[in-house]
Symmetry: C2
Subunit: 223 residues, 2 copies
């Protein structure tokens, strides 16, 4: 068996929006708004995880949601059914959100002071990781059917996140997904990432996730 | 229930590599090389589908494979086990391949005349659709666990492809995926797209897919 040859292609585009993101983060903190950015591949269960978070937390916290998509407003309609304030952001083909785009959404959504603001980012494991949205916390969802090797293939998003949610664990019997390997690949990229195995379908694991989220909200508020 | 508000964010980046792609397509045709670009989300089964294509076609055709990834060379190693010529392309963080990057890979891989050249593009439903790689055929894989609504959310890739493979149909009983809806969403975006439900795991549907692929190779060769 021959070892495959490796070609390193050249990178051509760079951007920077860090200052903008830091300013947004501070401004939100002044209003006691905790901003969480949720990222994943298409179809790994961002919307259904957010629904579970709303179910678990809405009697304790004010929640508002920004749904980002290239097209369609399916997800915002689903969230709206819970009577949670929600806005749909269309990127017109763009593959990520940056701080300026965040601000456009926040201005229009106008979340309450002392609330939890959730962004469902564009379904994409690559580009969203390159742009700081101004969020206080970045969460990646990896779903069981995608495979345990994704942290090896999409390093940046796993390096830059605070937590990884492993979703669809109810489907573990149908897929060749090694939970132990996935933990070790994630920690290889990011030793500090918290990992939460859940099933947004059955509700398993949501309690632990939401308890941790609340503890982080308290921590940032007291910083 | 309130109708969610929609904000149209501004698009900032445009590129064009169409001339380059057309030149590459003609050059490959002169050598009777048929170039297929396979795109999908992370983890929808591009590599295992390519393995099934190799299994089905390698006694009739010379095949060569380019594996594109941001990092890791797992997939190229898997393909190499079949003794198929393969090369791993690292994009260094970039989210897509264009014609120039294709050429860099093809120069290094050096596929035989009268062969089938397969590109496994970066796992991403957005950016790869924006860049013509110079391929003669573009194929999108949508897997059952991702959900039937993806053609609504990621329009461009479904508009620009020649065929859609619906993979992991063995997992249909575990997921809320409506096959009829998925066909209608795909054809809403692209009335000419051929659709092939398959399971790369069990092998179901691979015959039909490969028969069609062979018919397309013959068609382009005789144009």
């Amino acid at each position: 068996m021959k070892k495959p040859q490796i070609i390193n292609l050249k990178k051509s585009i760079l951007e920077d929006n860090d200052t903008d993101a830091n300013l947004l983060r501070s401004a939100l903190k002044k209003h006691d708004i905790f901003y969480v950015n949720i990222m994943s591949s298409p179809g790994s269960g961002k919307t259904s995880t957010i629904l579970r978070m709303i179910e678990n937390l809405s009697n304790q916290l004010s929640i508002a949601v920004m749904e980002a998509d290239i097209d369609s407003d399916i997800d915002a309609h689903i969230i709206a059914q819970t009577n949670t304030p929600v806005i749909q952001l269309h990127t017109g083909g763009m593959c990520h959100l940056d701080a300026e785009m965040s601000k456009q959404g926040i201005r229009a959504l106008h979340p309450l002071a002392s609330s939890l603001l959730i962004l469902e980012n564009i379904g994409n494991l690559i580009c969203p990781a390159e742009f700081d949205t101004g969020a206080h916390m970045n969460v990646v969802i990896l779903s069981v059917p995608e495979g345990d090797d994704k942290p090896l293939k999409y390093p940046l998003i796993f390096e830059r996140c605070d937590a990884v949610i492993i979703n669809k664990i109810d489907s573990l019997p149908s897929f060749d997904f090694d939970m132990e390997k996935s933990f070790s690949y994630i920690h290889e990229r990011n030793p500090h990432a918290k990992i939460f195995p859940i099933s947004a379908k059955t509700g398993v694991g949501i309690d632990l996730l939401c308890d941790w989220l609340k503890s982080q909200i308290g921590k940032v508020a007291n910083e």
